[in-house]
Amino acid sequence: MERYPAPLARHITDLIAEKLLVEVGSSEDDLVASGVLDSLTLVQLLVDLEHRFGVTIPLEELEIDDFRSITSIAHLVHRRTQISAAEPVTYATATLEESAGHP
């Protein structure tokens, strides 16, 4: 599996802390077993990932194992961004809030 850029895991950890108000201890922690992610929070995380990294993950294409840990989410985001970008991706952190005026 292609390694994702080092800052990505930190960005995702920060995103979960900011949006879901959960501090994840390690990149390998099981987010499902610990109850951090369930149906509701996962829907929210999908939206947050889309806004923060520009990756769209349709519900029908979703694989639960991609969300087990920060590491697996980082792999997913990296994979998705590499697929949709011709140029190497630097992970922008523009948020929905900053794109004021548009839904």
């Binding site: 499902v32 951090v36 369930d38 509701l40 996962l42 829907v43 979703l62 639960i64 929905l96 839904p103």
Partner: protein
């Protein structure tokens, strides 16, 4: 096409009871799928609709709406074989994988949310109906369809706000040329409806049920005392959405089942929780006022932003939050929209209508005509009323008026004399409000009337206001609105004119507002005729109009239920169609 829309999740509360057996009764209301209902759409037009609670007599019933479906079919002279589609107002199918995260979620999906769970109700009640003709509609889309396709507007902003649908608390659509386009949605983790319900529960009232009581309590309080708390937990984002920090404190399914962590936060940072039997104090009034003011700001923020974004001057709304008359009144007064339409069955009962309408729209059958006053429920004949009267035997004295004018004149005189009457006539209303067909009426001009009605029948909290029904011709004489302002559904507050407030003590709330119902001749000729008769007696074409039920029970449906309620309370006279009923004096 004949489409039956249905709502409700009959397995939700039983599942919660089974897996969390130690919760309190009030905590079991933190669940989805109450207010089961059915609505029949024939070639794109609603022809019959009713909530299941009116048949099984369990308030907010979540049971599979078999009685409501049978009523709809009977009213249209159909059988289940004539139905082309059943459309349910929840569609969890896209979320199936998300519910496979852990065994309990998977079981919840299987037993409560899945199509298979829905089909088990269908097989039990209508085994001959083919499963492939049962469809599911996204919950907020169903609400949006119920508002848009009955608005009569081709182009408008549609805002849906409730506790939550499948995963969201607010959804914004643009209705344009017969189609609904989703513009934005906000997670249930940011649901203003859930926040309102949580504080309702914290203040000693029922989640998913008593929010309107908090709305009634709010004007007695000071909204500024606890404003910093609500300003701290609700973030208004520049893109028109909101974020509610407190709801994210409940981090796991276990915690969310009773919102344990967020309720502790309320306990520590807002005020101590109130037990239902405790006295309501200034602190509770102030918290209710601050909560209501917060909701008002949120709805102005969301609707204002997306109104501007779509350049729409018309707003249609549905979802339980859209039943908050105070927030609707602020939206109306804000000047952000020229017209606002609240679909009168805005709660989950109305999502049954929306599910049917959405499927009809997909089939290209929608007419999008403005919803008439929603008398879509059961209607009983004189013979059926007679039979119910006969069952009451010598307990009642009955006088039959030979024509409707005579009935109105007699009722108007009794109202002018200060009597409280039951008014039961025509088809039952669809939605939570009694709009003149299953109503208790009184003179709004008597200061003692609020306490009297509470003492003899309603037994409700003294702080809650009663609502007026006024003729369209006189609305501007009594209320601060332009002539001919139509607000026919009792879903919006308006100001009582300053010079009139003293003349209307029984319907004027402490902040000089009233939860208005206007009645026009074109929408409801009979109720309008009654108001005119009242006007001849009192000088006001207006009555106090409250729902025909006693505390904790659904509004009456059948003539027999009306008679039983009449006989078990202090209502002085009952008009059943053209029958005037009194208590036997011997």
């Amino acid at each position: 096409m004949n489409i039956v829309g249905i709502s409700g999740l009959e397995g939700a509360v039983p599942f919660k009871r089974k897996h969390w057996p130690d919760l309190s009764e009030r905590e079991y209301r933190i669940s989805q799928g109450h207010d089961a209902a059915a609505a029949l759409i024939v070639d794109g037009s609603p022809v019959a609709a009713a909530a299941e609670e009116r048949f099984d007599r369990r308030k907010h019933s979540a049971s599979f709406p078999a009685n409501a479906i049978r009523f709809c079919l009977e009213r249209a002279g159909m059988s289940i074989r004539d139905v082309d589609e059943i459309a349910h107002s929840f569609d969890y199918a896209p979320y199936r994988k998300l519910y496979s995260l852990d065994p309990l979620s998977a079981k919840l999906y299987r037993e409560v949310y899945s199509k298979e769970a829905l089909l088990s109700g269908m097989r039990r009640e209508f085994p001959e109906f083919p499963a492939e003709r049962v469809h599911q509609v996204n919950h907020h889309l169903a609400h949006a369809a119920s508002a848009y396709y009955t608005s009569g507007w081709d182009d408008c902003l549609v805002v849906v706000a409730d506790g939550m649908g499948e995963a969201h608390g607010v959804s914004i659509y643009q209705g344009l040329e017969g189609r609904l386009e989703l513009l934005a949605s906000m997670s249930a983790l940011d649901s203003i409806g859930i926040l309102y319900s949580l504080v309702t529960l914290h203040l000693g009232f029922d989640f998913n049920s008593d929010e309107y009581k908090i709305m009634g309590l709010a004007p007695y309080g000071d909204p500024d005392r606890f404003r910093p708390f609500f300003d701290d937990i609700v973030e208004y984002l520049p893109n028109g959405t909101i974020r509610i920090r407190i709801l994210r404190c409940d981090r796991t399914r276990e915690e969310r089942e009773k919102h344990g962590v967020s309720r502790r936060y309320l306990e520590e940072h807002l005020l101590p929780s109130r037990h239902p039997d405790d006295e309501v104090t200034d602190a509770h009034r102030d918290a209710a006022a601050a909560l209501q003011a917060c909701l008002d700001r949120v709805m102005l923020h969301i609707c204002g932003h997306f109104g501007k974004f779509t350049r729409s001057r018309r707003l249609a709304m549905a979802g339980g939050v859209a039943l908050n008359c105070t927030a609707n009144g602020h939206l109306l007064k804000s000047g952000k929209f020229d017209e606002i339409y609240i679909q009168p069955a805005a709660g989950d009962d109305g999502s049954a209508l929306g599910a049917g309408l959405q499927r009809a729209a997909q089939a290209g059958e929608i007419h999008n005509r403005r919803f008439f006053t929603p008398y879509l429920g059961p209607c009983y004949s004189s013979a059926e009323i007679n039979a119910a009267l006969a069952e009451c035997g010598e307990r009642v004295e009955v006088c039959h008026h030979s024509n409707f004018e005579g009935t109105c004149t007699a009722a108007a005189r009794l109202l002018a004399q200060g009597h409280v009457i039951g008014w039961y006539r025509g088809a039952m209303e669809y939605g939570p409000r009694a709009l003149g067909h299953r109503s208790i009426l009184a003179d709004p001009g008597r200061p003692e009337m609020r306490d009297r009605i509470n003492a003899i029948v309603k037994m409700r909290e003294a702080f809650r206001p009663f609502a007026p029904a006024v003729s369209l011709e006189q609305v501007h004489c009594w209320f601060d609105v332009p002539p001919n302002t139509e607000l026919p559904y009792m879903t919006t507050i308006v100001d009582v004119r300053k010079e009139c407030a003293e003349q209307l003590p029984a319907i004027t709330h402490v902040n000089r507002t009233a939860r208005l119902q206007t009645v026009s001749c074109k929408d409801d000729v009979e109720f309008h005729t009654l108001l005119q008769a009242v006007g001849r007696e009192t000088g006001r074409e207006m009555v106090l109009n409250t729902s025909f039920n006693v505390k904790g029970q659904p509004i009456v449906n059948t003539p027999r239920q009306a008679l039983d309620t009449f006989l078990s309370t202090g209502i002085e006279f009952l008009f059943l169609g053209d029958f005037q009923v009194g208590r036997a004096t011997h």
